[in-house]
Amino acid sequence: MFLIFVSITLGITYWAATHTKTATDFYAAGRGITGLQNGLAIAGDYMSAASFLGIASLVYFNGFYGLIFSVGWLVGWPVILFLIAERLRNLGKFTYADVAAFRLQQGPVRTMAAIGALIVVIWYLIGQAVGAGQLLHTLVPEMSYKMSIVIVGALIITYVTFGGMKATTWVQIIKAGLLLGGATLMALGVMAHESFSFEKLFSDAVNIHPKHLEIMKSVVPIGAKANPIESISLGLTLMFGTAGLPHILMRFFTVTDAKAARKSVLYGTCFIGYFYILTFIIGFGAIVLVANNPQYLVNISKSILDLKGGGNMPAVYLSHALGGDFFLGFIAAVAFATILAVVSGLTLAGASALSHDIYANVIMKGKATEKQEVWVSKLSVIGLGIIAVLLGIAFEKQNVAYIVALTFSVAACTNFPILVMSVFWKGLTTRGAVVGGYTGIIGSIVLLIIGPTVWTKVLGMGPAIFPYDFPTFFLLPAVLIVTYVVSITDSSASADKERALFDAQKVRSETGLGAEVAAAH
């Protein structure tokens, strides 16, 4: 299964490589992707192994609580459509920093935006690499953890350096198809086992799960105390974090025009929403079919929930319980494809921040040739791939949960507010964007370090100084206020010029006049 997927994707990479000549081809697939294709690719880019294996696992251990993540990870999408997608397409070229810095000073704003993008990309990469290593190693014990990560690293470097955005897009489309198909089969299998009655599914789960009816009433993780601010902060982080992920935003540069950009969000949202409803059924199915089954458990006399291979395995074992070794192989290949597709998108987004923003626009001040820029981004892909492999190996034994918190916090508190203010608020100036942006970046990192996940669990320093896992509830308003105040008090001549440029920017963002056009071929 793995081999079939790998050889198909390498074939696509070869085809894409022969069709990738310009920078627009490399970063934006020649802007020739249709709305439906991009919608699938968006779904493929977004539905990471964390959401497939992760939500199923949250539901498996905590029941109802998992639904909050399903909903939270979806509600960012309509907001992306209403406020961001078409404006991104009309204003930008290759990166979201193009848009944030559209009428502001290129150097400082791009540097800040690229740092925000890179933090998200690198930490997200670590999470994916660790997940890939654990998954492959559990399924194919002959393959060591290190070797699994090296294979993933080598494959994505090959896809992205040779095939660029075209290969990345098609890997994501195939993966989305496989994942949606696989999850549908699993959910159908579960429902067939429960004679297509939700009532039966849920009551069976309640009977089997050691916490019984508590799993239908869990509004916080089972065992945790209810905390309103934490719940709201989690909601804010999930919603606005989605709208600030650089690899997701980058997808909007690949479509032909604003119309296609909008359609792609519609398709993407429907696929993702459908998928999240399925993961919820899969999680409950795992309670019924996997829990209490000695085949999958570490030690049935101690706990009927603890699985061999760690907490992320419920969905994988469910496939075995439903369809034996063959279906297990299929779902494992799907999970593997998922990781490859997400990692490819991330790597390309990180490479574009390094080459297009930092190298071409900050260091060379826009004087780099297209050839040089693409060359630098290919080197960046190789560099990022190697970094991901090394950090993935270094973080093998670490709890990677806080990594998700960090990436979504930076995305929700830096990338998203600066992008939206740049597009909608005439008063934003370079000074405001830069000071506000760094407030978000530094604030996320500091609050996370002194928060419960890192301070207490990772560093073991006792009770956390900042008592919340997700800082967004405090940090997002702080960033908005800082950006606002620093912008309106900016009375420099350059700030006036930046405000004056807003009207022209708005015409372009609304009408697409002067927007980048699709390549001719």
């Binding site: 639904l67 909050i68 929403g273």
Partner: protein
């Protein structure tokens, strides 16, 4: 050239009205999504009893479950509504304005 056109469009009252209308639609829909989602989150935070009550006597399914699924479905519907409005109604009108200014 495109700067000249852009300047003309900026002064066109039809453009301003249209851009305001679409802006209002976008922000209103965003607000609706936020109200729905944060309504859900606030219920989780302050009134968990409402969400965890069973949908009917004797059932184990809590009210929050169909509600959560409904949030997802409503999001998809609102997304579809905006795409339809923007692609079928607003875009042709904006195109008209650009064409007029390009003459």
């Amino acid at each position: 050239m495109s700067e000249l056109i852009s300047n003309k469009i900026q002064k066109n009252p039809k453009y301003l009205k249209l851009a305001n209308r679409r802006g209002r639609l976008a922000w209103t829909l965003s607000a609706i999504v936020c109200v729905i989602f944060y309504g859900f989150i606030l219920m989780i935070a302050f009134a968990p009893g409402v969400l965890t009550a069973p949908i009917s006597a004797g059932s184990v399914i809590p009210v929050g479950l169909p509600l959560g699924v409904a949030v997802i479905v409503v999001c998809c519907l609102l997304t579809g509504f905006y795409v339809y409005e923007s692609n079928q109604v607003f875009d042709p009108m904006f195109e008209e304005i650009v064409k007029e200014a390009s003459k």
